[in-house]
Amino acid sequence: MTQSNRLSGGQIDRNTTLKFTFDGKTYDGHPGDTLASALLANNVRLMGRSFKYHRPRGPLTAGSEEPNAIVELRSGDRQEPNTRATTAELYDGLVAKSQNRWPSLAFDAMAINDRFSNFLTAGFYYKTFMWPAAFWEKVYEPIIRKAAGLGSLSMQADPDAYDKGFRHCELLIVGAGPAGLMAALTAGRAGRDVILADEDFAMGGQLNSETFALNDAPALDWTTATVAELSSLPNVRLMPRTTVIGAFDHGIYGAVERISDHLETPPEGKPRQILWRIYTQKTLLCAGATERSIAFENNDRPGIMLASAIRTYANRWAATPAQRVTIFTNNDDGHRTAADLHAKHVNIAAVVDTRADAPFSSDYEVIKGAQVVDTKGRLGLTFAELRLANGESRTVECGALGVSGGWNPNVHLTCHQRGRPTWNEDLAAFVPGADLPPGMTVAGAADGTFSTHGALTSGANAAARILDIKPSDAPTTEDAAVRQTPFWFVEGCSRAWLDQQNDVTVKDVKLSHQEGFRSVEHLKRYTTLGMATDQGKTSNMGGLAIMAELVGKSIPEVGTTIFRPPYTPTAIGVLGGRMRGMDFHPTRLTPSHFWAKERGAVFVEVGNWLRAQWFPIAGETNWRASVDREVRATRNSVGVCDCTTLGKIDVQGTDAALFLNKVYCNGFAKLAVGKTRYGLMLREDGIAMDDGTAGRLAEDHFVVTTTTANAGKVYQHMEFVRQCLMPDADVQLISTTEAWAQYAVAGPNSRKLLQKIVDPAFDISNDGFPFMACGNITVCGGLRARLFRISFSGELAFEIAVPSRYGDALIRKLMAQGEEFDVTPYGTEALGVMRIEKGHAAGNELNGTTTALNLGMGRMVSKAKDSIGSKLSERAGLNEDGALAQVGIKPVNAADKITAGGHLMAATGPVDAKHDQGYVTSAAFSPSLDHMIGLGFLKDGGSRLGETMRLVSPVTDLTVEVEIVSAHFVDPEGERVRA
């Protein structure tokens, strides 16, 4: 029989039937249902298994605090483990599976653990599995890992998209229950800028679970009308299906809106979820309260639920977990559940009230001063055992047991900035403390105002107070005073569950106490109490109360653990948003990118840049062939390389030279206009930071280049020096990296090639434009350009820059004009080979630990002036005898390999860290020398040229005899660059 436990009424659309499957079996439900409500309506109570003992589990709650009814929702690459059936909206075709059981939910072999529970007490694993020593990792742990965990990931990439966005408001109201709705009405009617967010798909909060009247009409009428009015206000934004997950600094809240989780798949172009960062001036927390349970023996069977949850299922979803229900309560709220169920013709077996003065009912039996002491039913509740006021026992047959132990305000967000809640003796509950996140106010049940009228008015008043406006009138309603008498556990209980998911029982808390783990944090960590996916919402208070009893202190003296974000578990996907796959980081393209792509270039990631790595041509089967050709072609004729990615910083002002003198360790004050100079920049701690060139285009105008990797860092550093250390200097900086497309034109024919495009007015002959010259020129008939005669390759070379928008045209022009010289584009590999051949330091050498001295540039650090880093570079530890010095390395046997990352050892003797003499920073095959070469740092390297050593790289299984040589492999005298 389908939906045998479906009642009358409810907020479901009975005109539409939705088909869904759970563990392969098909059921019917209706729009408005959750998976849990639909399963209960179909008389399915068993929905999961617990973590440790694999005890049968049914829903405990009707909301996001659910610890038990968690399932694998959807299938294939959309499979979502640990999804709470109590919040999963039903849709047609929904597929769900139970998890953490084998072979089936009803028969779970791992339930054997329950039989051994006496051995598997809190912390048992710390005391055993130690013998023999090797067995922990080889035997015990693999078994434990396999058994652990709850649901499974599909192991496939999440196919859905996630978005992020920003929202701003004057007042953020969290929770659209009675307090939140009244607050929104108050603020909204006053024209204020409001966001009202609620995790539920239906606004109304607890009102959706109740049958009493507001303004003498069903509560739903008022809720519907209120939501309609709020929707009509342009200054109010309603955000249902939106969980505010965290309260962060300065009024920034994280919120996750579920756009498509109630659908089978997200609609075309829509994300699954959106992470909103809500920036608000004020926040009103109206998050309601969560009912708490009572600990008694075997209080964890499917069918045993929070009483208010049973009421919610009955009233909102017209579903009941069973046709015969017992209520166990210590307060009046439990009676309300009984009355509502009775009104829906559910058989109330009894209301068991711990209080001797419990209210009377003519509709069903109220057993006063009694307790539920045990239950029966293997896969679901069948009987409750009572202990009556006179001490006698009684057994009650029932399929569901609603437990009400009072209510805990949902104070979680109030603690996100490490404020602690305070104990309210009247309510026997923690309420928001004084130390709230700045700008936050709390109203309604979240603030301990448990009556409906109280919540309605407190919401209105809070909004009025925050915004200094008049509160809206609350609807009239009955206002039963809530009497909350603490009653946490049944005397003598032992296997009474506190944390139903993690299987933490009263017995575990007692053991924790016995072994000295008495602080709340120790209790939590030792027993795993509160570490379940409900984040302790249904378990912490019970454990705390029992520990308080055991240590003979009050609950507030024992303390409370702090609540941390997120409020409910949050998909990692939505926190990552769009920044995944190729969009993980922005991709910066060089001006010649599209041209290079047409040429079939292979690209490589260089930071966020994509650069051409080499340009294969027909017939080349491996990268080395391409790179070797590019190097030879450049050294023999002319090559072109896009070097736009190097950082470019424009430095202008009458104090520009003074400024550069400060940031570079070598001098720039006397650099002539029209000249370029190599510069080495130190950090203040005396270590080399970056190198580059600075060309003086005018008395008050320099162009500085940086390495690609450090462009941002150097600019930041220079701005620091300018603004913070030299505030009165007349100097301005701007990064022009993207403004200029820059190409290296290198090789003996580079001048000839450039002469074809540089306008004739400019003399770029060796006399007219010698090595290290620079200047503003025009090319191609009037296009402004900058020309630098600098060389990274060691060849006669220039770098030419044109405004970026001409970058593509320029590369095409250079290639066309260079045909007669067989001009060859080269990529970063050939660039790297040539700079190693030339012995130029690059990123691998400027690794943040090397000094000017190490780099062979110790004398560049000017003593004649102050510069950043010069003083601290003088420290003894950076100037010791035998300091590392940059050297060249070549294999003794030309066929041998040189490996960057290899370490240098003496030719004979031990190979270990104590005998380590240095390391190889860069290595490449040199087509010019026809063997591999390397650069490295060697202790006292400067005086060891010619020495034979061993290069060892055990991690790549390499030992090679090498010779220490000058780092300048090609043209050591530097004749070519001056040609």
Partner: protein, 94 residues
């Protein structure tokens, strides 16, 4: 966090790069400072639990260096100044 930029108004801290204690403005006088002063400048920090004057760079904005007075326990920001003004007020020039 939100930093109330003196020129641009409230800006998200994600637009900024943090450097550290604003004492870094007080670079020792290269003419007179001892090695000990340089060491203290570069390496020693008050690291207070409470009010902290610190340098933030508006990388994603106007590239100003700011001196932000922020409580390291509560993260509350009580003052934001242009670092250049602070440096001048402390007697730095060129």
């Amino acid at each position: 966090m939100i930093i109330n930029h003196p020129l641009l108004g409230p800006r998200d801290s994600a637009e900024f790069i943090y450097m550290g204690d604003a004492g870094l403005i007080n670079r020792p006088d290269p003419e007179t400072a001892s090695g000990e002063e340089w060491y203290a400048y570069a390496y020693l920090r008050d690291n207070p639990a409470g009010e902290h004057r610190e340098l933030w760079w508006h990388e994603g904005g106007d590239r100003s260096w700011l001196v932000v007075t922020r409580n390291t326990v509560t993260h509350e920001i009580s003052k934001v100044e242009i670092a250049r003004d602070v440096a001048r007020a402390q007697g730095r020039s060129k």
